[in-house]
């Protein structure tokens, strides 16, 4: 199930807010659709990310997929461990599989994101 303390995008990413630091990742549905993840490319600290724009790439054996940022801001940390163990994205997408932490320019941007219940509604619609 999708954790209720997170917010979600329509493009299957999750967002966790902790003060003005926002952690980003991809949802369980996203990793399931991709299949075995074998490669992750992430921006380094200091990189500017833009809401609605790709900031990295996740690749499974068969597919290449952009990861879209939910916020404007600056990367303060990226998950270096996952670069060498991309399969963690399949096994723990909401925990060890986090991707980047961003210092957000404006947290009010996040108000438009989906709650866990709304996101699950979206998944049912897509199904």
């Amino acid at each position: 199930m999708n954790p209720t303390n997170l917010k979600y995008t329509k493009t299957h990413e999750w967002v966790k807010v902790d003060g003005n630091i926002v952690t980003l990742g991809i949802t369980n549905h996203a990793q399931e659709s991709l299949g075995d993840v074998v490669f992750v490319e992430l921006p380094e600290e200091g990189t500017t990310v833009t809401a609605g724009e790709p900031y990295g790439t996740v690749e499974s054996v068969k597919a290449v997929s952009d990861i879209i940022s939910a916020v404007n801001g600056k990367v303060v940390e990226f998950n270096e461990a996952i670069l060498d163990a991309p399969d963690v994205l399949n096994s723990d997408p909401y925990g060890e599989g986090w991707l980047i932490k961003v210092e957000a320019d404006d947290l009010s941007e996040l108000d438009n994101l989906l709650s866990a219940a709304e996101y699950e509604g979206l998944l049912e619609e897509e199904h």
Binding site: G35, T57, K62, V64
Partner: protein, 367 residues
């Protein structure tokens, strides 16, 4: 959107919760448990594939042998009745119409198996070339289902279901026999780099045999395998794929399957062009690449040397067996030296790769 075609095993795939995709107009399973797990199952145990989408053309008649000799680049007089030949089929300019398997029943009867998405094109091409020959062509694709049982335990599993002595069928030979009581063509061939069999049978019998093989092979750890793993398996073994390594603008000499072009034959479609190309030397070659910087090369990514475009990736993937990112690329022949480095352009960025020997994977032969 046009209605996707389904194989007789569609219900089996659906019930097994396979992920289904549009593959050349066919609704086919791309994966069941996951591509990497399925890949490893075939390398170490056994896997069962639904390849009923493949095309089959029956060639019969007094002049079947000279017709097939004219049609393909390989030499069908070099095999015996009961044997199978792999061959490209070329256009007059040396480009590839398709690659195929020719089953030899006799000089008056051959059975040709072609790629699913090329079936109509191939059949039309063959029919056009058949003018003036005393032959009859039949596209019997819809009357034939095909299962591929591949992996080191394939023979052990299949032997439990047939009285035909499988150890007596050598690699690239075939026999007719009953499998679980179903009259079948049993062929020791495959597209995975492993030992195994391809079984051709009537479509209405395919679901029961599919279930029976999975049940019989359960102690050996057999699993159903999707097209995702089929692609990574064939890619590691450097078995070319039409649309990637092979196509109308690529000659077999460039694609590294020149061994299957017999210029010693009197005549065949494309001979003059291929002979000239061989004498002059090819301008492009297919090479194996290993990524030495982080990244996965994918089909159609450009290849550069010192900032200049020198080729294109034909297939690329993470290799489950080698645990590396590898690729096949068609590059300028003068640069095709093992050990030298090239750049693959991945999302606008140059990522280093090194030319390595192929095939990437070769099984230890026991038969």
């Amino acid at each position: 959107m046009a209605q996707l075609k389904r194989t007789p095993l569609y219900e089996e795939h659906h019930a097994a919760k396979a992920k289904l995709i549009d593959f050349g107009g066919w609704e086919m399973p791309v994966q069941y448990a996951g591509v990497i797990e399925e890949h490893n199952t075939v390398r170490t145990k056994a896997g069962l594939f639904d390849v009923s989408h493949m095309g089959e053309v029956d060639v019969k008649g007094q002049e079947a042998l000279p017709f097939v000799q004219h049609l393909i680049t390989n030499d069908v007089t070099k095999i015996q009745d009961g044997q199978i030949l792999y061959s490209p089929m070329c256009y007059p300019d040396g480009g590839i119409v398709d690659d195929l398997l020719v089953y030899r029943y006799g000089t008056d009867h051959f059975y040709i198996v072609v790629n699913a998405s090329n079936t109509d094109k191939d059949y039309a091409w063959m029919a056009e070339q058949a003018h003036g020959y005393d032959v009859q062509l039949d596209n019997i694709s819809e009357q034939v289902a095909q299962l591929a049982l591949q992996g080191p335990f394939a023979e052990k599993i299949l032997q439990k279901l047939t009285s035909t002595d499988l150890s007596g069928i050598k690699y690239y030979w075939f026999k007719h026999g009953e499998v679980n009581g179903i009259p079948s063509l049993i062929s020791r061939t495959g597209y995975t780099g492993e030992d195994g069999f391809e079984i051709y049978l009537p479509p209405d019998k395919a679901p029961e045999l599919w279930r029976k093989i999975l049940e019989t092979g359960a102690p050996e750890g057999i699993e159903p395998i999707g097209l995702g793993a089929r692609d990574t398996l064939r890619f590691e073994a450097k078995l070319p794929l039409y649309g990637n390594e092979l196509g109308p603008d690529i000659s077999p000499l460039e694609a590294g399957i020149g061994f299957f072009v017999k210029l010693t034959k009197d005549e065949f479609i494309g001979k003059d062009a291929l002979k000239a190309q061989k004498e002059k030397g090819v301008s492009r070659k297919l090479v194996g690449l290993e990524m030495i910087e982080r990244g996965i090369a994918r089909s159609h990514y450009p290849i550069q040397k010192d900032g200049e475009e020198v080729g294109i990736i034909t297939s690329g993937s993470f290799s489950p067996t080698l645990n590396k990112n590898i690729a096949l690329g068609l590059i300028r022949a003068d640069l095709a030296e093992i050990g030298s480095t090239l750049d693959v352009i991945i999302r606008g960025k140059a990522v280093k790769a090194q030319i390595i020997p192929t095939p990437f994977y070769k099984r230890e032969r026991t038969n």
